[in-house]
Amino acid sequence: MGELNINERQAGDVTVLDMSGKITIGEGSVALRTAIRRLLEEGKKRILLNLAGVSYIDSSGIGELVSSYTAINKESGQLKLLNLTQKLQDLLTITKLLTVFDVYESEAEALNSFK
């Protein structure tokens, strides 16, 4: 089992990635990057990251979230975040990224927000 586990499922035309573990420098960040690149190659551009199981993220992981966001936007897609832990929400607040990302606490609400 790796540092970050990513389970992919489809909800209509939205791809949900249920993530658990750590998004940190090395394996965790690479796993996220690889997953996003693969989805974009498959033409899946509406992506919801369910971060409920992500216990830890460092500056490299935050950078990877930003990188994912810009890569998906560049392809005219949408990336949204679901179920942030309090610590991740705090990190996104102090880095002012909470204003950049579209963040949800309800999966139904998040899925409805994709247009």
């Binding site: 940190t24 420098i25 090395g26 460092d58 500056s59 490299s60 935050i62 950078g63 990877e64 930003v66 990188s67 966001y69 810009t70 610590k87 990190l91 102090i94 880095t95 002012k96 990224l97 950049v100």
Partner: protein
């Protein structure tokens, strides 16, 4: 009065970051630090060691990252030393400035300063940079 000191010497590899974090967590656990402070120390140590491995020693395995942990009566002090050319923290751009918010890197020092009570850098005689971080109890 120093209560306890631990010194580590680790190779300049990415997996050193997790190894250092684990060693520091164990030390912090013994030091009677609260959970919130321990989380902040963990974040700061990972960022400091990442910087030492990537930017200081540039993953040159002939160079080591040295970590000194001190449990003081009123604080925990952590020093991370690399063998790199040194750098000027004041030249690192503010990652929360509007033009930098969407940058994919450059938040490590910001996190270190956010989570620790004191952070300062010095160039050691003989070369290398030391970052010293203090978290009060």
């Amino acid at each position: 009065m120093t209560v306890e000191t631990t010194e580590l010497s680790l190779p300049s590899r990415i997996d050193t970051v997790a190894a250092a974090a684990a060693a520091v967590a164990e030390f912090v656990g013994r030091s009677g630090i609260g959970d919130d402070a321990a989380f902040g120390i963990d974040m700061a140590v990972r960022e400091a060691v990442t910087n030492a491995v990537l930017h200081g020693n540039r993953q040159d395995e002939d160079k080591t990252v040295e970590i000194i942990l001190k449990s003081l009566p009123d604080a925990v002090e952590i020093s991370v030393h690399d063998q790199g050319p040194g750098f000027h923290p004041e030249e690192v751009p503010d990652p929360t400035a509007p033009e930098n918010i969407l940058k994919t890197s450059g938040r490590g020092i910001f996190f270190m300063r956010s989570f620790m009570d004191e952070v300062d850098w010095s160039i050691r005689p003989g070369g290398g940079t030391t970052v010293r971080m203090l978290k009060r109890r």
